[in-house]
């Protein structure tokens, strides 16, 4: 195992970096997967919504495909956004607000390990939700997806977590721990609705459709939908926009962090 090898190679003056990262990720995952209310809201909501609106409407057709297929992409995005906004935003706000982050920052933990662990776990949850929805869609709603489509959807969802993880970072830095979940819902739910995650954007009023084009959730959904044969437009433009959002959010988070550090 890589971690063991690294531990042997290094002299006793430095702890093994890969082992720190590995442990940080492992315990972050363990911590959240033992938290029932977190599991229920992160995995439960996309699954229940998918069963209610996707599986029961499997006869409905949109752009030549079953609506259950459309919502498979939509709720995968929904799950990914939730796990990154809550996993990073609410998690960071909690740990920062109650003094736990101070304890970790006074230790020699690399700050990157802390953030990377939260990101990796968000991605893991997003992937898990997507796989679960694919299984449900295939088994209960007669959605047919090829292995290639499934893998492309999975990869898109996992990469598309990044802008929302960065947005979560801003919320986690700014919000007190008790306010963070509420604020995240105020971001999460409108982003989901206007981004076309719950229903095709074409069903929304025209002005909302215009607004939607400015939202990262819209481009995320568009990329996910493309993997299942919906929609048109350039994937490169959508990826570029998601990258742009990621950079902007990360810069904003860095700005907030620096300002807080100056006052710390």
């Amino acid at each position: 195992m890589a971690t063991t090898a690294a531990a042997l190679d290094l002299p006793h003056t430095q702890p093994s970096q890969p082992r720190i990262y590995f442990n940080e990720i492992r315990f972050e995952l363990l911590k959240l997967s033992r938290n029932r209310s977190y599991l229920f809201s992160m995995i439960g909501f996309p699954v229940i919504f998918y069963l209610l609106f996707g599986v029961t409407n499997k006869a409905a057709v949109f752009q030549g495909h079953s609506i259950a297929r459309y919502l498979l992409a939509g709720y995968s995005c929904f799950g990914a956004m939730g796990s990154s906004l809550f996993g990073i935003g609410a998690g960071l706000a909690f740990e920062r607000g109650h003094g736990w982050l101070e304890m970790k920052r006074a230790s020699p933990m690399p700050a990157a390990a802390y953030l990377l662990a939260k990101l990796c776990v968000s991605i893991t949850f997003a992937a898990g939700i997507t796989i679960l929805l694919m299984v449900l869609g295939t088994a209960l709603a007669g959605v047919h997806i090829t292995a290639v489509e499934g893998l492309r959807l999975l990869a898109t969802i996992m990469a598309g977590v990044l802008p929302f993880a960065s947005l979560g970072l801003i919320v986690g830095l700014l919000m007190p721990s008790n306010a963070a979940p509420g604020v995240i819902n105020l971001i999460y739910l409108p982003l989901s609705f206007c981004g076309g995650l719950w229903m095709p954007i074409e069903a929304l009023p025209h002005w909302l459709q215009v607004v939607a084009h400015g939202l990262p959730s819209f481009w995320f959904a568009r990329l996910a939908l493309r993997t299942l044969g919906y929609g048109q437009g350039s994937a490169i433009v959508a990826w570029a926009l998601l990258a742009f959002y990621t950079v902007v959010f990360l810069l904003a988070a860095a700005f907030v962090f620096r300002r807080q550090e100056a006052q710390a």
């Binding site: 082992r19 940080e24 911590k31 033992r34 740990e95 003094g99 736990w100 304890m103 230790s107 020699p108």
Partner: protein
């Protein structure tokens, strides 16, 4: 001025004065906006010392500790930790900190919390040893959220010791602990000091500082106003407390020359003075029925209150 105690803050000799300095604040000023939290503060921590930082709320204790832990940056001046900048990760390898944590991840087991923290350090202490030192044996597989308040404090203590650090910062370590747990934590702190570890302690329990510290540093308004051993601080205060049952009225007692303060303790009065003999002569002359007499040296609390000018309102101005 309620008290005329003057201690030279920088000329107090301690038995560790020849040990190497492992952490220091040099002429550190820290401002939060217009507010000055630390005002040209210099503090050196030497190997093997147990230093207690005392001071009223807002005196700058927490700010001083946060600077040494690399959690904050000085407005001017310099913080050093093992020869480096505390903000560098490498400087914190030999540091352990127990901070006041309201809540922390509750769905991890004690063992897992310790395992994760241990992985941050080059030579972590074995798990069994940590559990024993912190009094957590038998609790290693319990979820953190299922622990009592005192047990949670002990996990934080264990986390501070994970890396077998040479400097241990304890911020109000026994807050919320029962007497027994507090005594056993003190015992561990003494053992650590005996092993040559340096301990920086902030506490509200003066008894704790008295019991543990080889040097007490009293902060007020961001400055060191006194430092020395508990004995030196008490001796510098020089006051005695006369405890007795008497029919003499407090007003009268306060008017006796040399009386610093008069307090009631149940049926007894507590008269604080630097000239107990003269005051007693006067009291005995005025109340032949005076009983239950007891004279004791100043407690650290008296010295502390005198230093920080927080004596009761009935204290006359000297």
């Amino acid at each position: 001025m309620a008290a005329s105690v003057v201690l030279e803050p920088h000329n107090v000799t301690t038995r560790n004065s020849d040990s190497p300095v492992i952490a220091s604040l040099r002429e550190v000023t820290k401002k939060f906006g217009q507010q000055i939290a630390l005002d040209h503060l210099s503090l050196e921590l030497r190997r093997g010392e147990v230093v207690a930082l005392l001071g009223p709320n807002g005196a700058g204790k927490t700010t001083a500790v946060r600077l040494l832990l690399g959690l904050s940056q000085a407005t001017s001046g310099e913080a050093r930790l093992f020869g480096g900048d505390p903000r560098d990760r490498a400087s914190r390898m030999r540091l352990g900190a127990m901070l006041q944590v309201g809540r922390m991840p509750e769905t991890l087991r004690v063992r897992e919390h310790l395992q994760l923290f241990s992985s941050y350090y080059p030579q972590p202490r074995p798990l069994a040893e940590l559990l024993s030192v912190a009094g957590l044996e038998g609790l290693e597989d319990r979820l953190f959220g299922k622990l009592s308040g005192g047990q949670k404090q002990r996990v934080l203590f264990a986390l501070a010791l994970c890396g077998d650090p040479d400097l241990i910062c304890l911020d109000e370590p026994t807050l919320g602990m029962d007497v027994e747990a507090r005594r056993s934590m003190w015992e561990q702190v003494r053992k650590l000091a005996a092993k040559g570890k340096t301990i920086l302690l902030t506490t509200h329990y003066l008894e704790e500082a008295d019991a543990l510290a080889s040097r007490i540093v009293v902060l007020q308004k961001g400055k060191i106003i006194a430092q020395g051993t508990a004995e030196e601080l008490k001796a510098a205060d020089g006051s005695r407390t006369i405890r007795c049952t008497t029919s003499l009225q407090p007003g009268l007692l306060s008017s006796i020359p040399g009386v610093i303060s008069v307090e009631h303790d149940g049926g007894a009065v507590l008269v604080r003075t630097r000239t107990p003999e003269a005051v007693l002569r006067s009291m005995l002359a005025q109340d032949v029925a005076l009983s239950g007499l007891e004279v004791r040296a100043a407690a650290l609390e008296d010295a502390f209150l005198a230093l920080t000018n927080q004596t009761g309102s009935n204290a006359p101005t000297l």
